[in-house]
Amino acid sequence: MLLRTVLIRLLTTAITLFGVAVVVFTLVRVAPGNPIAMMLPPGATEQDIANLTALYGFDKSLPHQFVIWLSGVVQGDFGTSITLRRPVSELVLSRLPATLELSVMALFIAVALGGFVAVLGARRRNSATEVGLDLSSGAVLSIPDFLWGLIFVLLFGVLWPVLSISGRIDPRIEFDFTTNYYVLEGLLRGRFDVVGSTLGHMLMPAMSLALPLAAMIAQLLKQNLKEELLKDYTTLTRVRGFTETAVILREALRNAALPTLALVGVQFTFLIGGTVIVERLFAYEGLGNMAIDAVINRDLPLIQGIVMLFAALFIVINLAVDLSYTLLNPRLRHG
């Protein structure tokens, strides 16, 4: 039973990744713009162009190119970046930590903020406070992440410049990283200046990504909490002398969080998608920023590599959500 589930899951994963590969591969080649022409200085000869085209294999038919690329991928070789002249896998993996740290921080903020507002709204249900919170989260939700980015840049970068608006860490800090997980490594090695500076640089982009998701969590979780708070098991807890806040936190929250979890999973993948523009806005050296450069330069192997990594990431996240859903729900755990 379990084995079957796992097998099906692996198979769908493989099919999804293959589908993504085919689509991206075709799209980037059909789209206008010639990567070779962009690499060469003006006045390059026909021969130069032909040579380079052959070097990167762009002279072959599309299916043929795909087969070559796929056989490389199977061996862990995602090709070489045209603009950066380095293996795509190396480039992409070096940028992944920055994006992961940013996304996870954004997720933390969204869950903490959204959770707090939801609990507060449920605690003060049917009052002016609830209406106020509903209106605010509605307003927050209507502004997309990149606009929040612009607002933050204007507020805390220009009007009241307290936060750095670009980069990932203060360049004056001396620290030789062995990984690209700045926050994690700083924490593990006890360098809190590194952690502080990195978090400071992440704060605005992370907030931009987090706010819409926080508003979504606030709305959905509050709704679910209110439903749970009408059920008899919460009534019983009240009769047993628990305060309303205790009833919410001890009894209702876990039940209300389950349906919210599915949304958070899906929305987290959207949030990661949002890093592409937000990283650009804050000149944050992550995958998204690299993706935009790759697209501008028509760096086909790099685009493919980044898209495949994003796709794999989304699949892993969905898997993690499904798994935790099963683990948290005794009805599924035993069934």
Binding site: S127, G241, N255, R331
Partner: protein, 298 residues
């Protein structure tokens, strides 16, 4: 003052009125008394305000509803004059609730054991071992086989009847002096209903707990209660000993309710629902009273 020391009721409700924010009254001047060890049935059609009385007694009325007048007195203590904190403590100390729907009355994400044991530790301040022993004792008393295993189960693994027995065990476990049972058998199969009713009656007799038993079924009233309060549109129609109500009902609505209960009186008599004309007339009466009351207020 001397009244209180002379004789302390388990519960006393005096002239209770509850209204919506717009002033519409849901309870109208309700009074009732419950002596220690007594079972009082609270009977009436759906929407009569039975659960609302139960909630008021337990101090869990929704914030949107306001007590416009009246007293709720638990063992001589005035509930509606207390701070929320004291009220919670007092209610938890004296009362317990057997809810209507066993399917939603247990937290689906927590095991049965802690759901019975934790309140005992919290309300009574018992040691964990003592609370556990008490929970096991009560589970056995309500005929749960393999109580140890059941304590380790999640609610979804148990049948509705079993869950209701667990909830009865949980209600009696802290030895409350007043139990509010809000239609505890309505959500169950007919066969299970009988069994649950019997269990509540037995445990009530053994422990001497006072019970406010909410129901809309006169058959159940006859089986379980010594006293009856008949409620219509938030108003008390009749308040009398159960025996008297069945032999000599004073109010036409009570008579109609008894007639509408197939199992109550002689089985040969055909089933006759409460006549709509009577209901309409009673509603008109309530409306007239309300108008009068509004006039008095002005």
């Amino acid at each position: 003052m001397s009244q209180q020391t002379q004789h302390r009721h388990a519960l006393e409700i005096i002239n209770l009125s509850i209204a919506l924010p717009n002033g519409v009254r849901l309870l109208r001047d309700v009074s009732l008394k419950l002596e220690p060890g007594e079972v009082r049935a609270l009977v009436g059609e759906s929407g009569a305000g039975k659960s609302m009385i139960g909630k008021t007694v337990l101090g869990i009325l929704p914030d949107t509803l306001k007590i416009t007048q009246g007293e709720i007195i638990l063992e001589g203590q005035h509930l509606n004059m207390m701070t929320p904190w004291t009220r919670r403590k007092t209610v938890a100390e004296i009362t317990a609730l057997i809810p209507q729907d066993p399917l939603t009355a247990l937290n689906p994400l927590r095991k049965i054991g802690p759901q019975i044991v934790d309140p005992l530790i919290r309300i009574r301040g018992w040691e964990k071992d003592r609370a556990r022993a008490r929970a096991l004792e009560l589970l056995e008393r309500v005929h749960i086989r393999a109580p140890e295993r059941v304590m380790q189960s999640y609610p979804h693994e148990l049948s509705g009847g079993m869950r209701q027995r667990i909830l009865i065990a949980a209600a009696f476990a802290p030895s409350p002096r007043l139990i509010v049972a809000d239609e505890p058998t309505t959500a169950l199969d007919v066969t299970v209903q009988k069994e649950i009713l019997k269990l509540i009656r037995e445990l009530q007799k053994e422990t001497g707990t006072a019970v406010l038993f909410v129901t809309h079924d006169m058959g159940v009233v006859a089986k379980i209660s010594q006293q009856v309060t008949v409620l219509f549109a938030g108003k008390v129609m009749e308040d009398a000993p159960t025996r008297e109500v069945f032999t000599n009902p004073a109010h036409p609505y009570t008579r109609a309710l008894i007639a509408a209960t197939p199992s109550s009186a002689d089985l040969d008599r055909p089933f006759s629902p409460v006549p709509t004309e009577l209901i309409a007339e009673l509603h008109a009466q309530v409306a007239r009273d309300d108008a009068l009351w509004q006039g008095k207020k002005r």
